[in-house]
Symmetry: C2
Subunit: 245 residues, 2 copies
Amino acid sequence: MTTQELPIMPKTYKYEKVAAAIRDFIGSSLSPFDALPSERELMAQYGVSRMTVRQAIAILADEGLVYNVHGSGTYVGSSDLVYKTPKLTSFSEDMANRGYKATSRILALSREHADEGIARSLGIPPGSECTHIRRLRLADNKPMAMEDVYLPRTVLDIEHFQLGESLYQQLSAGGHDIVRADQEIKAITLDADSARLLDVAPNAAALLVTRVGSTRKGHLIEFARTIYRSDRYTFQLAVTREPEK
Amino acid sequence: MTTQELPIMPKTYKYEKVAAAIRDFIGSSLSPFDALPSERELMAQYGVSRMTVRQAIAILADEGLVYNVHGSGTYVGSSDLVYKTPKLTSFSEDMANRGYKATSRILALSREHADEGIARSLGIPPGSECTHIRRLRLADNKPMAMEDVYLPRTVLDIEHFQLGESLYQQLSAGGHDIVRADQEIKAITLDADSARLLDVAPNAAALLVTRVGSTRKGHLIEFARTIYRSDRYTFQLAVTREPEK
DNA sequence: AAGTGGTCTAGACCACCGC
DNA sequence: CGGTGGTCTAGACCACTTC
């Protein structure tokens, strides 16, 4: 018997189907600023309850495809910008979204003791054993970023690390799903070594992204520092105003 | 008769009260990883329906205070990191959050014709008349950022701009509420002029944030470029993994 | 099997917009 | 004023976790 790779249907809910149907309807029949049918009409149209309609619309509103106006209606949003909230993605996914093909070169792989900063970030005692992975990240075979990742040895030991496979997939397989991360973005000036590795002029500016990844339960299991070439990489995000309280 | 400044109660809904009550309960009686009472229990406890409880919990989950596990329960999140999704805020608010007192110095205020890039970003014809505001942003009386803002003249004319007041408030008063913005963050090397203005060494690295602000309906009405001192300013955001489809 | 959160229904009333 | 989205109820069943 072979182990199948998730051949089963992932189960789609009504509100997902309704959201998809509305999305299609908008794409085929509506333009920006056009009003959608009212929620009551959509109920009848798709044969579902109002809450299901609202759940579907909430998905589309979250994407920025539509927007609600309280006493007035739901309207198609301006399609100029797809509303992108940044998501936690692997380097490969990120590059694919940007139209690049991602590859990596491992520069170092070692077992180390956590220094003060890493220990504090991960909430572990200083000196704890960690797995350290340093990789050069390439996009279309040209340097894009340099990344240092530190993981508690208890989470992933150096001996179990598979060079070819995605780190996040390996963590997931080990029961350590990283579902969220806190990032700090700053601008730095590259030192000579980093500049050479990234194939840019020394003293060039670069983006330094420091990331602490955590599990669903809030366990901090990944500390990463990634230096991106500023001539090839920019960080994009959409922000919204906090509704008035 | 004097015009009152919103003296009226903003109306609080049940789910807000329940959310506040649960938040207090967590603060006073629970620790990270502790389970909350089940939704059924909370219904009885606060005398509301299940949907209201769920709406309240959704707020707290959005803040990162709690997290849900499907067949298991709702738990208090690890409090190490307050879960901060970046919100669209004014410079003053942003600085206040960081513990600084914000001030500004207007460096230039003029009526200009939109160049190619600005016109494309705002979706207006090149050459359209724009109001241009250049400000030096100070935190605790020391330079923090330099900002250029461009607005279509139809949105805000230079003659109506009040120097002392918040730009966003003025726009809001004119019926042009900016409720969301798309930002691009990159690292740059400062030129001599900017470095002098920001009081840092020439060729220092800095964060360049380009922002396009839009109204609820998707009208693009603000183009801004802000250069932040990298030694004083970092950008923080939390990201989550896209749920599996 | 029991208990949890996730989905869904069929209603009701409230707050807001536009005429 | 009628129509809209926003809140809320009192149920039901489904999917999942835990034992």
